[in-house]
């Protein structure tokens, strides 16, 4: 490994209206190294990458390449400076050939020289050992190969800094290994690679150094050998390992003795999560935890039938059941509050009333409309019970605050009287007051006999609300914690693979 400094970002700051996305962040990339950029959601990874690639302008700081300060104002500037990015979604044209994808948009001549183009593409692909042929249509290649073609294009454009933004999220193990081989090859040719990923094992498999960001600030830069996984997790989450176990526990062992309301064996879906077993008892609050992208949302989506289930058996209250779409899940008494409120949850232009009534109406079928009087009664009751702050039941939901929108969706599901309610990140982006209100509500619902699965990125919140935690990592369940074992320390150790 060489030690020549290739890219140096100093004191980078970036503000968005009301949010400080990056503050005084330093980042150093040496020639011939693979440098992982790590951080949880909102840590500022993608903002930093976007500043570097010219998608965003920076508010403070300097960027220099090989010692010379550069000013990057657009993606074109970045390319000229030798910075290339390969994104998670492949930004190539599937209808064109491999060779064409490598050269299009870069021609200087009006006429396209096909022979020369194919020959040159063949050379590059051979040099990089990429299993693609120049004349092949890109769409016929596997995703991994497509990604490699994108990298080959970048390499041919004399890139010094190659940014790989979540390149492995849609690849299988074998394809990941192919990509890693390519990355190692490029490293030995002196390219500096910035590797953004949320798979811990992959970081340890290829990286030389790790830079950790949290809440828009630099936590530190570490050599891989000097940073055990468990410490990396602690740094990403911002907790020291010691003295974390003094959180309040209000567990009732009763939750482990009741009958299972819902039980699955070897459930899996087309999103690529490993088959998992799971059960929940009456009155239990449990939670899926893990880092972003560990598969916690995919698991509950499989339970609800929101993604296409590809295997496994389901039992609801001891009886075999088939749940392959959300409507069947709802009929079985399962409710689901999606992670992305804006995209999956609210219907922005409909009123609070209509948003609350929606799920119940779907269950009853559209040929049995609820009368206006029934609607009013239900809606008023839940607006009062959940303390939803809205001008009236007829206000469009988009004019409510995030916390109140969340309560409306909660009311929607409560109205269907589910036996089992899944809450995926119900407290994201809402204020602390409403957060505790929702946590308290979850405990109260459980006391009344409802089973709840709760997902949150904040571990304290999970520990406060759940009596059992299922820990996930790299799309599989790696452990389960309950009772006295429920502590932040243990959760992190399990995520990092230190303790089962």
């Amino acid at each position: 490994m060489q030690d020549k400094i290739l890219l140096s970002m100093r004191g980078i700051g970036k503000n968005f209206p009301g949010v400080r996305a990056l503050h005084n962040v330093d980042f150093t990339l040496r020639a011939g190294e693979i440098h992982a950029l790590m951080g949880e959601n909102g840590a500022g990874k993608s903002t930093l990458i976007k500043v570097l690639t010219g998608v965003y302008g920076k508010d403070a700081g300097t960027i220099s390449i090989e010692g010379k300060e550069v000013f990057i104002r657009s993606p074109q500037d970045a390319q000229k400076a030798g910075i290339s990015t390969v994104y998670q979604e492949i930004t190539l044209c599937p209808n064109l050939t491999v060779a064409e994808n490598m050269f299009i948009g870069r021609d200087k001549n009006v006429l396209v020289g096909w022979g020369k183009r194919y020959r040159r593409a063949g050379e590059i692909l051979r040099n990089l050992n990429i299993p693609a042929r120049p004349r092949q249509q890109l769409g016929a290649c596997s995703l991994a190969v497509q990604q490699m073609v994108a990298i080959a294009r970048a390499v041919d454009m004399d890139c010094k800094v190659l940014i790989l933004d979540e390149p492995t999220s849609s690849l299988d193990d074998k394809e990941v290994e192919m990509l890693f081989t390519l990355m190692r090859d490029l490293r030995s040719q002196g390219v500096g690679i910035i590797f953004v990923t949320h798979f811990l094992e992959q970081v340890y498999a290829v990286s030389d150094r790790i830079t950790v960001l949290r809440n828009g600030e630099l936590v530190g830069e570490y050599e891989v050998e000097n940073l055990p996984q468990v410490e990396l997790v602690a740094k990403m989450m911002g907790k020291e390992l010691q003295g974390l176990s003094d959180l309040k526990q209000d567990d009732n062992e009763a939750a482990f003795t009741g009958t299972p309301v819902y039980e699955v064996a070897h459930l899996t879906s087309t999103t690529g999560i490993a088959p998992f077993d799971f059960s929940i008892r009456k009155g239990e609050v449990n939670g899926f935890t893990g880092l972003l992208g560990s598969g916690r949302s995919e698991s509950v989506r499989a339970i609800f039938g929101a993604d296409r289930v590809s295997g496994g058996t389901v039992q609801v209250e001891g009886k075999k059941a088939r749940i392959s779409n959300p409507k069947q899940a709802m009929k079985r008494g399962i409710g689901y509050l999606p992670e992305d409120r804006k995209a999956d949850g609210i219907i922005a232009d409909l009123s609070v009333r209509e948003n609350i009534i929606l799920a119940l109406q779907v269950m009853k079928g559209f040929f049995h409309p609820l009368s206006q009087k029934e609607q009013d009664a239900f809606v008023d009751e839940y607006i009062r019970a959940l303390d939803i702050k809205t001008a009236s039941a007829d206000t469009p939901i988009k004019s409510l605050s995030g916390g109140n929108q969340q309560k409306v969706i909660l009311a929607r599901w409560l109205l269907t009287h589910p036996k089992y309610l899944i809450l995926d990140e119900p407290t994201r982006g809402i204020d602390v007051g409403t957060k505790t209100e929702i946590q308290r509500l979850v405990r109260r619902l459980a006391k009344d006999g409802m089973s709840v699965t709760f997902i949150s990125s904040e571990i304290e919140e999970m520990l406060r609300t759940c009596s059992r935690l299922i820990v996930m990592r790299d799309r599989r369940i790696v452990g389960e914690l309950r009772g006295t074992k429920l502590s932040q320390d243990n959760v992190m150790r399990t995520i990092a693979g230190g303790e089962q």
Partner: protein, 358 residues
């Protein structure tokens, strides 16, 4: 895993070439079937030339549409533009214009439509369907303003040019009295074939042409790859406008007369030809050679329906057949492409045609 010797192995066909091949194959299959069943007329080259003579304008306009559709857009104003061009040119010729100025007028009108629509669609990002629908109504309306009454060209030089035929003795046939009747093609056919060739080369060989495929394949990716998406899209509509102007002139050379319903439905025929020729409405796939055979397939259907006598009592047969064919082609395309995507194509076609996966 890695093909060590790529030269020894034929690459699987790209979607474009595969779909084009299918339409060429279907054209010949249909035409040979017609020769077998109805013989006579279909056995003479003149039948092919008649199909070309009648459809020269359609070939030109369908080429323009192919470009727009490869870029992922649509242009339904072309029929209206043809009719406006025909009417304006006739009025111009009859009031003392020359052939040259009439041709310039045709090109000017076409370009004006192309540039305006292209600008609105590419730079102001308005839906192409809406803009060109508006363009179609506008052009049709203008046609009736120029002249409500049907018009006939009364320009001697033009009529002489119109009557000009290119004769091919070798492709002719002998009458019962032993007299040679050569195969005759109109000048419009030459214009159409030259344009076809130019556009074929442009699409295949130039940076601009490949740009159309890129923006139709995935315009976001094209942008990231450094293609000037807006300008490329603008040019596609401009070319389509220009070609409908030229098509209007060719149409007038063929008919020599015009009325307010000139070239009614030409845009739909052009879209149908492009689709039958293997251009995907979703963009990124297509080829003018395919489009040419698309036009010829439509013309063959037309000829078969006429020859078989179906159209005498029931003129709707032609449209029903075209509708069914269109449906069949779209189904065929999506089946072929989806089988290919899943790698389930093996049983259906030879090995070198398969989409391979690593």
């Amino acid at each position: 895993m890695i093909q060590r010797n790529p030269l020894k192995r034929r690459e699987p066909l790209t979607d474009t070439i595969l779909l084009t091949t299918i339409s060429i194959f279907i054209f010949f299959a249909m035409y040979f079937a017609a020769m077998q069943i109805w013989g006579a007329g279909f056995l003479r080259w003149q039948r092919v030339f008649d199909m070309l003579n009648d459809n020269a304008a359609l070939i030109i306009v369908a080429c323009g549409l192919t470009i727009v559709m490869i870029g992922g857009g649509i242009d339904i104003s072309v029929g209206g533009v043809i009719s406006l061009v025909v009417m304006c040119c006739i009025v111009h010729l009859n009031s003392g214009g020359t052939i040259l100025t009439a041709a310039l007028l045709a090109i000017g009108i076409g370009l004006a439509f192309g540039v305006t629509q292209g600008f609105l669609i590419s730079y102001l990002e308005i839906q192409p369907f809406i803009i060109t629908l508006a363009g179609m109504f506008f052009a049709r309306g203008m046609t009736t303003i120029v002249s409500v009454k049907p018009q006939k060209v009364a320009h001697e030089a033009f009529n002489a040019l119109r009557a000009e035929r290119i004769e091919f003795d070798a492709l002719g046939y002998f009458t019962k009295k032993g007299k040679l009747i050569p195969a005759r093609a109109e000048i419009g056919v030459v214009v159409a074939l030259v344009i076809l060739l130019l556009i074929f080369i442009m699409l295949r060989k130039t940076k601009l042409g490949r740009g159309f495929y890129a923006i139709g394949g995935n315009s976001n990716s094209a942008l990231m790859l450094g293609v000037n998406v807006k300008r490329t899209r603008f040019i596609s509509y401009t070319i389509s406008g220009l070609l409908s102007g030229i098509a209007g002139f060719v149409f007038m050379m063929h008919t020599g007369a015009g009325n307010a319903t000139n070239a009614a439905g030409a845009e739909m025929n052009a879209i149908a030809s492009a689709i039958i020729g293997g251009t995907l409405l979703s963009g990124g796939v297509g080829n003018v050679i395919g489009t040419f055979f698309g036009v010829m397939i439509l013309a063959t259907i037309n000829a078969i329906v006429t020859t078989s006598g179906l159209s005498a009592g029931a003129p709707w047969w032609q449209e029903i057949t075209v509708g069914a064919m269109l449906c069949f082609f779209i189904l065929l395309q999506s089946v072929v492409l989806s089988l290919r995507g899943k790698g389930g194509f093996k049983r259906m076609i030879p090995k070198w045609m398969q989409g391979s996966k690593q």
